[in-house]
Symmetry: C2
């Protein structure tokens, strides 16, 4: 059990309105930017917009500048220091020119900035303590005409600005902090959670933070929200579907995993039953010690195995999907060979790890191979002839209406399988496969203590799941 | 591998007609009764029929006597010494009187006989070296009017007598001996194989022994034969269906298991491909020695477990179904708890044994308990509340869209389960349950050598299945 549970019980089994209001007031204290923070941000943002507009209209007279994102909508959380400046160019210019102009405007706006590459190149840098992105895009009439994802941002911004009053903006801040607290905030492919835009849409749609939690507590996925009643003829296979108000063919929640939807439901219920500020506090567990790891393993009686390799040099949005794919492949490879996996997870830092906790790590020397029904003559005779006379095989014999052969099992230990070439057949992520080709360690049982201290936090989260 | 395989190869991969004829001739030498045996049997049978008829007509003027069974149809195998005498009484007499008369006639026919009890009581005894049954039944117009199973016998006899010439009768002897050789002869509930009547019907239907094998080699169960084209509106859920020529609602092969049907198919193909007399020779393996058992266990790396108890005092037709039911229950009980069973069998002599060879005999201290989807709120909250705060439980936590709890496993070894009271919950045969209540031994691993020498033959058959 984590320590969280004990703290939470102090709030009692059922939350009263007074509890709820008092908890929300405490959280607001923390997440609402004060007047000073807001005026400082506004001042910097105005300066940046002016600089960007000057540079842009010099290059293309039809250009303009938009401040977008949470800083433009007063939905940022106190202490966040991101300012996004979108520079819109007329759609007549070509993409290459757009990129060239965009970088030129970026450097003019953020003199110490550097270039980064997403869908377009853009300039990023620090100005008076704020992290500033200057992103070029096309100015379009409708979000359905977009040429790249960034072209959509101004439409999102306009939609939300029109709907977010000061009260809803404050509730967006609560919702974001709640999602951060429960580990479900962020649409990156490591988290697969709720993006800022999605969070803002949900708060607008349900009319506030608490109404959002009350609704989520009772969701029956798939949940479909269609704020602008597009009623588009597109079928989405996702647990949460929020049709983009600016684009009927897009599910804003496409990246949000079933687990994060379930997590929101779970914590919404717990929070409403017993409000506590702890739900707004991201868990930062102390690293598991070697003694604690050994104790968990002894208590559980399982056999942990780990494949450890040098982390491929990829951005997280490429790395984690590959690690997840590799995890799935390796778990499948183990289970196909009778090494039952109780639970498994992947971690990455300097090294990357596929960690699996086995309920069965060894199998006998023989395995049962069920053949075809004896009456399917061609197949049955083929099976029989393949094994008959093989002194390493028991059978083939008739068992029920089928042939059965008890033959030598290829892998009697999980370690032997993981150390073999067959590991490369399970469906690994491409860069993971390359990394493994360069070498990897297989750790079994107490050898997994070698994962400490690097993965101490991850292992505590693994062995002491948050309630 | 058994030694059989080597011998069989001498006959080559494909049988020629010459091989076949020569093998069949050799077998005929063994199974055909010679003139002397036949005349001796005929003389004794005639004497018995006369004695029975005299006694029966004294009691009921309308009575008569039939000689039935293989001795009446010349389908007995040389050395078999069974003579069945059926005494038919008019249907007007009541059942009680029938039984009384039947016993009286039986004692008059077999002076040293004793009474036995099947559906009716009857007299059994030895006369001049023959085993004689004197069985009373009703003389009915049609087999569909029968009052008990024995009333059907005269109809079966008449049907077969009309169709079996000397050549077919000789082929019936081959077929019976072949089925004995492969262990598939007998409709008792231990064997669940081919009865004599079924064997004779099949030889008649296909026109001989070799045609029967040729047909069986290509059977696609369910196989339905309806010699008298009854086309009855009765659905049978059996792999082999032979509608009784004398009763459209009866499947003569109802007791024949899928495994014995498959066994006939398998050996029919092997015999036709490479004829050999060995298929007509029942396998009588030498008992497995303790050293051999230990070697098999070491080679296979499995963990054998055995439950041994005093054999319930039942006839085989009651005992074996109960043992099979208990075997199925115990295998299910083991597998439900994660103790994977590779193969299992039941044996009986002075003691009875449920023997299971485990691929997994131990499990870790924890097991994964998959809860309901989080969104099924009532069930999900019930699951969560059942485990939350229990310091012996990991979780409950959100895994995918469900709750999962990793809780203490009740049984970490197969032995502990088998020695527990929970063994009685798996669905045991009633008398097996009573026997176990009086006490039983659980043998694990090398302890199973205690099954020797009592079950040496059964264990050889288990570890060295006939190819």
């Amino acid at each position: 059990m984590s320590d969280d549970e004990g703290d939470r019980d102090e709030y009692g089994a059922n939350g009263s309105n007074a509890d709820l209001e008092s908890v929300l007031a405490t959280v607001r204290e923390r997440v609402d930017p004060d007047a000073d923070e807001r005026s400082r941000l506004r001042a910097v943002a105005t300066t940046l917009a002016e600089r960007a507009a000057d540079a842009a209209t010099d290059l293309a007279p039809g250009a303009d500048v938009l401040q977008v994102g949470s800083s433009a909508r007063e939905t940022w959380i106190s202490g966040d220091r991101d300012i996004d400046v979108f520079v819109r160019f007329p759609p007549e210019i070509d993409r290459e020119t757009l990129e060239e102009y965009g970088l030129e405007v970026g450097h003019a706006t953020v003199p110490d900035g550097h270039e980064e590459y997403a869908e377009h190149p853009y300039v990023k840098g620090e100005v008076e303590g704020f992290d500033v992105d200057v992103v070029p895009c096309f100015r379009l009439e409708s979000a359905t005409e977009i040429r790249s994802a960034v072209d959509r941002t101004p439409f999102h911004n306009r939609y939300l600005v029109e709907r977010l009053d000061a009260e809803l903006a404050a509730d967006v801040r609560l919702a974001k902090q709640f999602l951060k607290g429960i580990g479900a905030y962020g649409s990156d492919l490591r988290t697969r959670g709720f993006s800022g835009y999605l969070t803002e849409l949900l708060v607008v749609e349900y009319g506030g933070f608490v109404p959002l939690l009350e609704a989520a507590a009772d969701w029956h996925p798939p949940v479909e929200l269609d704020p602008e009643d597009h009623a588009a003829d597109v079928a989405f296979d996702d647990p949460l579907i929020v049709i983009d108000p600016t684009d009927p063919e897009r599910n804003v929640a496409a990246v949000c995993s079933a687990e994060n939807v379930a997590r929101l439901q779970h914590y919404a219920r717990k929070f409403l039953a017993a409000p506590s500020v702890e739900y707004f506090e991201p868990r930062e567990p102390a690293p598991l010690t070697e003694a604690e790891l050994r104790e968990h393993l002894a208590d559980r009686g399982t056999t942990p195995v780990a494949i450890r390799f040098e982390t491929p040099d990829l951005v997280d949005d490429q790395l984690y999907p590959q690690l997840e794919k590799s995890l799935e492949g390796i778990v499948g490879g183990l289970e196909d060979r009778g090494f039952d996996v109780l639970r498994a997870r992947t971690f990455a830092a300097e090294t990357a790890v596929v960690f699996a906790e086995l309920a069965v790590a060894e199998r006998p020397a023989v395995e049962r191979h069920l053949g075809p029904p004896v009456h399917v003559r061609d197949h049955a005779e083929g099976f029989y002839d393949a094994y008959a006379g093989d002194s390493d095989v028991y059978g083939p014999f008739v068992d029920g209406d089928r042939y059965v052969a008890e033959r030598e099992r290829e892998w009697t230990t999980a370690r032997a399988f993981l150390e073999s070439e067959r590991l490369f057949d399970v469906g690994l992520g491409a860069h993971v496969e390359t990394a493994l080709e360069d070498g990897y360690d297989v750790l079994v049982g107490a050898e997994t203590t070698a994962l400490l201290p690097e993965f101490g936090r991850q292992l505590r989260a693994y062995f002491e799941p948050r309630p």
